[in-house]
Symmetry: C2
Subunit: 173 residues, 2 copies
């Protein structure tokens, strides 16, 4: 097994973060990895919005919790939130955005940074407040939310083992 | 940059394959990597069907071409086709399946095996012929097609450079 496959098997979703912000150099590597995700017909339909200011993270958290109908912080206090969107005019936009998310999470793991996919981006960026944020960021209305990749340092000793894979995951035809 | 991020930046979609079948030990590593993809709430909604017999690949190719309305082989003669499906009862099924596809493609690259995502799995497995194949494979009707990962050895000298990433891929909020 090589480092790439080993990373895939060891990466876990992380939901406990230290307060310290991640290094910008590491973040840039993670972002670059995200942009190199495969996309349908190479159209690069994805877009990544980097959110690190506490006020905006707090707003995104509230909008996300509202979609859930719960009064919690769905971002678990992570100091960085990457909003992954994709061009809804491209038929493969959800799949393209998901591959960006996958690269972000795996690249983060490879640098010792914890991550987790937080859903409900579609609903948040269909709301008037979400639309307002997009306008502020200069993201045109044809983009839709695909996911949030939360990032932060974490205690590696708190990362558990993966659950066993389900028995019928692979079918040999 | 580490091996994981480097693999993400160097991996390319491959559409020219040698006839030789890939080694089963390598295929098993790729499949295992696929099963370790993250999934919404850890539900492992994905499923991977391994197709290597020429007759079934030819049938899948014809069904796929029919969706396209074209008379070509959408699998480019690849000797192995992995059909990735996901449980349509799970709201994150497309995203979950896409992450499986991403792991399969990147793991293949890390082992020197060429791959490409071929779409139209949703449409193929909604057709009566696709449903018949699912029944033969023991895949229940709640599964939907997400993608085909074609695999095969390729001439590394024929793999080009990645296109430049679009300028507005990353937005710093």
């Amino acid at each position: 097994m090589n480092d790439v496959i080993s990373a895939m098997e060891k990466r876990r979703s992380v939901r406990t973060f230290e307060n310290e912000q991640i290094e910008t150099d590491e973040l840039k590597l993670i972002l670059e990895a995200g942009t190199y995700a495969a996309s349908g017909m190479g159209r690069q339909s994805g877009k990544i919005i980097v959110v690190q200011d506490k006020e905006t993270i707090s707003l995104l958290s509230k909008l996300n919790a509202r979609v859930m109908g719960a009064d919690i912080d769905p971002f678990y206090g992570a100091p960085t939130v990457l909003v992954v969107m994709a061009d809804s005019n491209v038929p493969t936009c959800v799949e393209d955005g998901a591959l960006v998310m996958g690269n972000l999470m795996l690249a983060a793991y490879s640098l010792g940074i914890g991550s987790c996919w937080i859903h409900r981006a579609k609903e948040v960026f269909e709301s008037p407040e979400g639309r307002e944020l997009m306008k502020k960021w200069g993201v045109t209305e044809n983009y839709r939310g695909v996911g949030h990749c939360i990032l932060g340092y974490t205690d590696p000793n708190k990362i558990g083992e993966a659950k066993p894979r389900k028995e019928d995951y692979i079918v040999w035809a």
